[in-house]
């Protein structure tokens, strides 16, 4: 009985998730319930004192965590850029620039996603920012909700693979390998996946134009002077903000948390320009014909504009704190679930299953990849990394693939495969964090079913990428070998 408990725990989670009650509290509640069941069955499995893990784990791993403080600030940055109209202008502008390309708006999301991925390794923040920036605009332009959400979720998760990535840092630590080398090894696979997304979007939108109505149908054409002004006014400021955020991390100038505060502050500044300075100077944004019915009255006074600006900041604070609470609610629920799962021997069940198979190097590799992929349906990367990697690290370094790749590269190669796999785990239902983040901030009319449907082609692209890197390890190892010899 007791040995089946972890299995039942997973089944209960899967079942209750579909009750429609908030995920955060299902996780916590199932964790709690199985702790109580374990106490009843066998006090060795769990005892009352172990509920102390609730405050201990929340305080030690979530409260006292400087890296996680970047999340609310990235959310704030995205929300502020959205609510002050800056993001809207930017996407309009990107769409104008890409209007001749099929699926131009989705494509611009992939481009922005890739850029964001290079500013941070925090998936939640990337997905949320992209959802806030791009989804409402795509809905407005009658994009297929499935394509729109799939593009946003997939592009938003690139951040876990494209350096800097917190996950790669932790992996390097667990495998006792250099973080720098791992970062370099992840670069080519990361950009390869981004280009897969772009190619897929162009192809599908060319084949099925109804998925992504072209912008120029209801856009008046701009002359070159207007276009230049538009780029200067709408495109350059936010892109410069992104470059500051990205550049400061890549150049080793700032931590993600610091960069996030610069981003949040910059967003406030751009909001001030957009809501106070430009209206005061009488500069009107260049918008699409249909959007012209804006609320800019000529009676506006400076004090009205200032009040409007501060009201926007307050509104953004509340909204981003709510979103942040949603994410940290899941953190808190998941930390109890994972603790109980481990206490009742979930880990051993997984290992035992694996041990009983008796496989060669390729068998071990492929079944590990399959295992991670399946675990990815339920867990997020941090749990999987902490469960699977330490357990299998000694096995991994002992694997031998003969002439397929040099022995010294095996661990790095494996880490990259695992990273791609875990990026996919963000996208796979029922427990895909990217999907939750997305659903939390998506416009009301988008349903979770549409998100599930939209993600399928991108998960297939991920698998294609994974298979390619398995078949051709050089995709990952070429760059580090060239740079580091």
């Amino acid at each position: 009985m007791a040995e089946f408990l972890p299995l039942f725990m997973f089944l209960a989670l899967a079942l209750f998730l579909f009750s429609g009650f908030p995920v955060a509290f299902i996780l916590a509640g199932v964790g709690l319930a199985f702790a109580l069941i374990a106490i009843a069955i066998d006090p060795w499995l769990f005892d009352w004192q172990q509920f102390n893990a609730i405050p201990v784990r929340i305080h030690g791993a979530i409260s006292e965590n400087l890296i996680l403080t970047a999340i609310p600030m990235f959310i704030f940055m995205g929300t502020m850029l959205e609510k002050s109209g800056v993001a809207n202008d930017l996407l309009n502008c990107l769409q104008v620039l890409l209007k001749r390309v099929p699926g131009g708006l989705a494509l611009s999301v992939v481009i922005m996603g890739t850029i964001l991925a290079a500013t941070t390794g925090i998936i939640g923040a990337s997905v949320i920012m992209m959802s806030l920036l791009a989804l409402p605009v795509m809905m407005e332009k009658n994009y297929s909700p499935a394509l729109a959400t799939g593009t946003v979720a997939a592009s938003g998760t690139l951040g876990i693979l494209i350096p800097p990535s917190i996950m790669l840092v932790i992996m390097a630590d667990l495998l006792s390998k250099s973080v720098g080398n791992l970062f370099i090894a992840a670069l080519v696979p990361g950009f390869m996946l981004a280009s897969f997304y772009a190619i897929y979007i162009i192809a599908i939108c060319w084949l099925k134009p109804e998925l992504a109505p072209k912008a120029d149908q209801n856009t008046r054409s701009l002359n070159s002077k207007e276009l230049a002004f538009m780029i200067l006014r709408s495109f350059l400021p936010p892109v410069m903000l992104i470059i500051v955020v990205l550049g400061s991390i890549l150049a080793g100038f700032a931590t993600p948390t610091e960069a996030a505060s610069v981003g949040a502050f910059g967003a406030i500044l751009l909001g001030f320009i957009n809501l106070v300075v430009l209206p005061r100077l009488g500069v009107k944004p260049i918008r699409f014909a249909q959007d012209m019915a804006s609320n800019e009255g000529s009676e506006e006074t400076d004090s009205y504009r200032l009040r409007n600006f501060f009201a926007t900041i307050y509104d953004v604070l509340i909204r981003s704190a709510l979103t942040n609470a949603m994410i940290f609610g899941i953190f808190i629920g998941a930390t109890l679930f994972a603790f109980v799962f481990r206490q009742i021997g979930g880990e051993e069940v997984v290992i035992h299953l694996f041990d009983s198979m008796g496989l060669g190097s390729w068998g071990v590799l492929l079944s590990l990849m399959a295992l991670v992929f399946v675990l990815g349906f339920f867990f997020d990367w941090i749990e999987i990394t902490l469960i699977v990697l330490p357990v299998f690290a000694p096995i991994i370094s002992g694997l031998d693939f003969g002439t397929h790749l040099p022995q010294a590269d095996v661990v790095y190669w494996f880490a990259i495969l695992m990273a791609i796999n875990l990026q996919t785990s963000f996208l796979t239902p029922p427990f895909g964090f990217a999907l939750f983040y997305l659903k939390a901030v998506a416009p009301k009319e988008i349903r979770i079913q549409q998100i599930y449907k939209g993600i399928v082609p991108f998960v297939l692209l991920q698998l294609l990428g994974l298979i390619l890197v398995i078949a051709f390890p050089q995709i990952a190892m070429w760059l580090p070998n060239v740079l580091l010899g």
């Binding site: 429609g20 908030p22 299902i26 409260s63 600030m73 502050f265 939390a440």
Partner: protein, 185 residues
Amino acid sequence: MIKIARHIDRLLRLVAQAGAVAMMALIVITMYDVLTRYFQVPKFPGLNSTKLQEAEFWSHTITFATFIGFAFIKNAHVRIDLVRDLFPWRAKLVLELIGLIVFLIPFSVFGFLYSWPYVQRSFMSNEVSSSTVGLSNVWILKSMLLVLFGALFLAGISQLLKCVAGLVEAEPSDQTRDLLSGGHE
């Protein structure tokens, strides 16, 4: 009953407003940290970067601790409403009620009961930050856990009252529609 729920909601909103201030503080403190580090802006006497960085996660903890309960009454926690959407409104209310009684309220009670001695131990041993050169009085930070679980419990009670009130209605009121809107504020 609805009246009690409204009072609770008002209290939770008030608490959350403090959290919004903490979030602004987080941005300002981090920005100040950046300025002192890279732009030679002087630090206040007695302040070191460790203290500043700890003030950052203090602010963040206040933010999420004050908002997790509030987010529940604002329906901002993510739900997988795939199956639930197929049910009539009364069944949804029953499901919500079960979720509250089985999952959320017990979790908030356990969380609160086990956080209380945790904060107490920290207070009694005069715990300082792990770095030993950072902020002292860590019990204040830890007591945010009491705020978190206390607010979550109150939010659960408020939604429970709304559910019960909804169940006796002939047609769903605006209140009940709000309650079941699912996954959004």
